[in-house]
Amino acid sequence: MSQASATAPEIKKEKFKIGMLLLNLRTFIALFLVVIYFSIMAPNFLSMANLLILVKHVSIYAFLAIGMTFVIITGGIDLSVGAIVGLAGMVAGLLLHKGLHIPFMNATIYFHLPMVILITLGVGVLCGAFSGLLITRFRVPPFIATLGMLYIARGAALLLSDGKTFPNLVGSEALGNTGFPWLGSGTILGIPFSICVLVILGIGASYLAKRTPLGRHIYSVGGNERAALLSGVRVNRVKMFVYMFAGFCSAIAGLIIASQLVASHPATGDMFELTAIAAAVLGGTSLAGGRGTIGGTIIGAFVIGVLGDGMVMMGVSSFWQMVIKGLVIVAAVVVDQFQGKLQSRAVIQED
């Protein structure tokens, strides 16, 4: 390259660098564009009230997607999260509505609200532990193990109420189990409770991924299980953790949905697992394992949530909504593939 023409490629190089940066931030930019678009098309979109509703919706997806991200990073998949959402709601509904009936003592126990929450979360963790056990001890592939768990959890949810809804979960003063609806509608310092939970969970999970040995181990298991094992990573323990954590996140989502509706229905959470996977993938998580971030996943959940809510506000038919969501997910992955190619081209340009 001659000295005289040095400036032109210089500018080109700069442009290219900016292009790469934009590409790296693509999910964020996509989110931004979608928000702008809807705020023009649907003027109410940016109102405080609407935003709050939006974030509440998104938080549900985000809970599931955060759990899912860890599972995917280890190279696995969890199809049971949606069913666990349903089961968790039903468990909480049963405990509040009917109490725990113990047949041989012919007694019914009603728990205080914190206890109900703990039991529900425990059920979620147990479901995850069951999948994890199948995967680690019995070498069942994650797809199959969690598919089994999906049916088991959904079936159990239906069994708990014979397929009916537990309505009116306000609890009663006499039994001392009031307060459940607050989870869905209450606020802390004016911020809805579910958003607070999302912030805490998001920061916690992000910290876990980046700055704890467990987080490093999760990435290493997904990247190369054998090398991880030889390096002293307790691979089985790591896998148990991610499925249990996914179950835990699902149970949180189940509790919050049931509380928002003040009722629990056994079909709640149907297909949520796919939304969670989509959010994770949109956020840059690689299904091959080893790659992904919590921050990316949360943004991915926002993109899906904003798209859904925005289209509803604009009155797009629900059939078209599905098609559009599908296109967005596929486009995201295609761009992801392109990025690799462009990056190597960037290098050639650099010279």
């Binding site: 290493s220 090398a227 094992l229 030889l230 390096s231 002293g232 080893g290």
Partner: protein, 512 residues
């Protein structure tokens, strides 16, 4: 010799290759002489693999072009290369563990009947023929995942032979082979040469290059240094061209062995799934500061011994004591904390997590040293990594680059660094010098000496006789899962070691 210019079959002209943050090749001209063994040498990261990958169409040069038979050609994919008759054995193995040997050899060019039906019988027979030619005791129907790495290397060579290429590139084909296997390979190379095949050969074993090569080209830091016919030069010339100075440090190992025992293995046996024993009643001990070399052919049970010591195998009999404490059972991380550390044989499959960066890989075994409750303290971690990068002189722009962008030898150094960061009492090294250059090898041996002087016990497995005789205080030879010979530094002879390693093998191809 005739006029060299019309002897040139393939010519790389002014090749430049840039990777993010690295200038891998800088205007390199490379001549490949027809029907000759063209040797390429250089330190780790000099750009040898990159150059040959460009010749084989795996990488595209940033600038420069290729000339085949005097005409400019574009070789930009595997298929382009195959069309021009160029085949390559890559430095890292490219095999499918889930398929059998024959299927691997004929992958993507399956022998078919009517283009659909795979003719397994012919495929297996042809594959077996190739393997027999390589005198490898491998059944073409075996699953590749069940083979040891040396055997896999043989399969990789057979795969390249099956291509019937006129230019065959071999990137460190011998790094996992024992002396006897190298001899077989060299006979095959001579055969190919007689058939008019041109060979491009990369290796860090310099004696080997002198023995097999006709022409040598030296790269240093991405630049072409020298090109010469092999008859005009010697090992010290190569080294001085490679590293700038003649720092062929003759490894003088001064023993620091004490008589204080650190590791004792008692009646250790490991049953084989098909019956018989992979490890058969092993008894030995290791002292503080001692370097114990283990030599053996493929399948002798060396790597299995290490796996047992690390707690990877559960079905073992016998006992292992570390520093007087029994450590037979337990998980790998328990063993690591007790002070055992393993540098595995196959860095791609067992040593590295390819998607992570250098720092993450290096600290994976020792994170527990850097945590406070559950928090990883990043400052001491970073310091430790930087220190290790310096100590092992790993060539890397920053510890935050992804591991797969490093050259093979530098990746190996990261694996060594990972084991050293755990501060072990006993270090198990399975072919630790595989694919690293003379300078780095010297560094590794230097490090081994230093560690031994600090009182570590080191068990060290290699298939290179010279190395093992140079570095070890004591040499143990294994064959078929048994200890078949033990030598001290004074009593060791090449003949003795080779003879012991062939005990129990009916055909003695180890007569080298």
């Amino acid at each position: 010799m005739t006029d060299p210019s019309d002897d040139i079959i393939l010519k790389a002209c002014g090749i430049t290759k840039v990777y993010p943050g690295t200038l891998a090749l800088n205007r390199v001209d490379f001549n490949v002489y027809r029907g000759k063994v063209n040797v390429l040498v250089g330190e780790n990261g000099a750009g040898k693999s990159t150059l040959t990958k460009i010749l084989a169409g795996v990488e595209v040069p940033t600038r420069g072009h290729l000339e085949l038979e005097g005409k400019q050609v574009r070789i930009e994919s595997f298929h382009d290369a195959t069309r021009h008759g160029i085949g390559m054995i890559h430095q890292e193995l490219n095999l499918f563990g889930n398929m059998n040997v024959a299927e691997n050899i004929f992958i993507a060019r399956e022998l078919t009947k009517g283009r659909v039906h795979i003719d397994h019988r012919t495929q297996t027979a042809k594959a077996q023929e190739l393997l027999d030619r390589l005198e490898a005791e491998i059944d073409a129907r075996e699953q590749v995942a069940d083979l040891r790495i040396g055997q896999q290397q043989m399969v990789e060579i057979a795969k390249a032979l099956a291509l019937n290429t006129r230019i065959l590139i071999m990137d460190e084909p011998t790094s996992a082979l024992s002396a006897a296997e190298v001899d077989v390979l060299f006979r095959v190379i001579q055969d190919l040469k007689r058939q008019g095949v041109t060979i491009i050969y990369i290796s860090h074993r310099l004696e080997e290059l002198i023995q097999i090569g006709d022409h040598i080209t030296v790269l240093r830091d991405g630049n072409l240094m020298q090109e010469a016919p092999m008859i005009e030069i010697d090992v010290s010339w190569i080294i001085s061209q490679m590293v700038g100075t003649d720092k062929n440090r003759e490894m003088t190992h001064t023993t620091s062995a004490t008589c204080e025992e650190i590791l004792r293995v008692k009646n250790l046996s490991l049953a084989r799934t098909g019956g018989g024993y992979t490890l058969d009643q092993l008894n030995f001990c290791l002292c503080k500061g001692e370097i114990l070399g283990i030599y053996g052919l493929m399948g002798a049970g060396r790597s299995e011994l290490f796996e047992c010591l690390m707690g990877l195998e559960t079905e073992i009999e016998g006992k292992v004591f570390l520093d007087g404490k029994e450590v037979t059972r337990g998980r790998v991380d328990d063993h690591i904390r007790e002070g055992l550390s393993l540098i595995p044989e196959d860095r791609q499959r067992e040593g590295l997590v390819q998607v992570l960066d250098v720092s993450d890989n290096m600290t994976l075994s020792s994170l527990w040293k850097f945590i406070k409750w559950i928090h990883i303290k990043s400052t001491p971690l970073k310091q430790a990594v930087d220190q290790m990068v310096r100590n092992l002189s790993i060539k890397v722009p920053s510890p935050r680059v992804i591991i797969s962008s490093l050259s093979g030898g530098n990746q190996q150094k990261v694996v060594i660094g990972k084991a050293l960061l755990t501060e072990p009492k006993v270090l198990l090294m399975d072919e630790p010098t595989r694919g690293i250059d003379v300078g780095a090898k010297g560094d590794v041996f230097g490090i081994m000496n230093d560690l031994a002087a600090k009182g570590l016990g080191i068990i060290f497995v290699t298939s290179e006789l010279k190395e093992i005789m140079m570095v070890s205080d004591r040499i143990m030879v294994m064959s078929n899962g048994k200890i078949t010979g033990e030598f001290t530094k004074e009593t060791a002879t090449e003949e003795g070691i080779v003879a012991a390693s062939a005990v129990g093998h009916n055909h003695t191809h180890a007569s080298a």
